[in-house]
């Protein structure tokens, strides 16, 4: 059997650590369903991050060692813990935090991101619809980062010229972290900022339908 050989790049855990590394001390960060839910377990010494869960919890940490509390879950309904500074509130206050611009960042999963920063992450046409809080978060947070595989399960690029799936939000994405690379929208232009270890910008070309410019953060260290 012949398959396209695509590099694997970062594991899911490595990707979570990579994203966590870019969080800024003191930020209030919403984590969406899927890969972003791994972030609260990536505590970094010297950085205090307040993780926000859409249904009304703030200050959540990793899964508990002991008995889980059914009333302390993340947005994916997995058991988590409450850290110092934790607060509970109703869903309208939770989305007031999001829409009102008090989230420094939300990290969302993605099905497709266009080269204009459009995000599609809630519906594969013909599939089961479910939007959750993604549209509110995409519209409200100060920054939107997307964490996703570089290719979909069939090997198609998820960074596209246009999203072919229904949008979550238009022009909302600030950064995309994939298993292969980190991209940033710089003045609206998709820009390669970093390659995963062992990955070269040249390799990314055929794996990325979207047009991108290259302006690496650390020119000397990226390979």
């Amino acid at each position: 059997m012949t398959t396209i050989t695509a590099p694997t790049g970062l594991s899911r855990a490595e990707l979570a650590r990579r994203v966590a590394g870019d969080l800024v001390d003191g930020w209030c960060v919403n984590v969406g369903i899927g890969a972003p839910l791994q972030l609260p377990a990536q505590a970094t010494p010297g950085k205090e991050i307040l993780y926000h869960c859409e249904h009304g919890l703030l200050g959540v940490g990793p899964a508990p060692d002991g008995e889980p509390d059914p009333d302390v879950t993340d947005a994916g309904k997995n058991p988590v813990t409450l850290l110092d500074g934790a607060a509970s509130f109703d869903s309208s206050t939770s989305f007031a935090i999001a829409r009102g611009g008090r989230l420094d960042l939300c990290v969302l999963g993605g099905l497709q991101v266009s080269e204009r920063g459009d995000l599609a992450n809630w519906l594969v046409p013909g599939g089961n619809p479910g939007v959750g809080g993604a549209m509110d978060l995409a519209a409200g947070a100060r920054r939107v980062w997307v964490m996703m595989d570089h290719l979909d399960k069939r090997g198609n690029p998820k960074l596209r010229k246009e999203c072919t799936f229904p949008l979550t939000g238009a022009g909302v994405v600030d950064r995309v972290y994939t298993n292969l690379a980190v991209f940033e929208f710089v003045d609206g232009v998709l820009t390669l900022r970093e390659c995963a270890p062992g990955i070269t910008p040249e390799q990314l070309g055929p794996l990325t339908e979207a047009t991108f410019q290259i302006d690496l953060w650390n020119q000397g260290e990226s390979e």
């Binding site: 249904h55 009333d71 869903s91 989305f95 479910g130 939007v131 549209m135």
Partner: protein, 241 residues
Amino acid sequence: MIDKIRPKAADALDSVHNGASIAIGGFGQSGVPLDLIDALCDRDVRGLHIIANNGGRGLPGERGIGRLLAENRVSRFSCSFPVNPAFFERYFSGEVEIELVPQGTLAERLRAGGSGIGGFYTPTAAGTVLADGGFVVRYGKNGEPEKTLAQKERRVIDGRTYVLESPLRPDFALVKAHRADRYGNLRFRLGARNFNPLAAMAAKTTIAQADQIAAALDPDDIHLPGPFVDRVVATELEPAR
């Protein structure tokens, strides 16, 4: 004397009728008024318009929203994250209509309904099929789309596009509280609060189940004041602290 406590869930639900609209609190398995939903199923009401964030998981013997859907009691479901495979089967076969609402918009529409607000403008969903229209609300029996969402009214405010959203004002709300008193004052517990106070505010008649009944709550410890609550049922008779 004010006493909203009812001895049994069945008594508290005696006015719920076929075709009623009912907002139900809960997020995933947390804060779902399971005992009230069981009593609702026991009443055998059907053709309901259910407003709830999640649709349960579709597991055998499931309680909660999943039971309402499994027993085919729901003709219209307003939600953000239905998930339940049994629900989707009914949706694609035209047995149930969906109103898919972004989670924050769902919360705000309930709050608006409970606050006498006639409508509000939100940036959420602008530029998507949930605001510009096109999302399939109901399929026909033949599996083809029968009804799609109409375009919502848009308005540009300070250079940004907003969407007009309407309040939700259901006939009933079923909510789960942690602690209640005879005045209907409620206190919730951690992530179980979620949509519960908002559903309670929105409804014309609100029925709460509470883990504990307290003689009195500290005024500053109350998360939802009693005027929004009509009836209270104790579900676990834990001693109040």
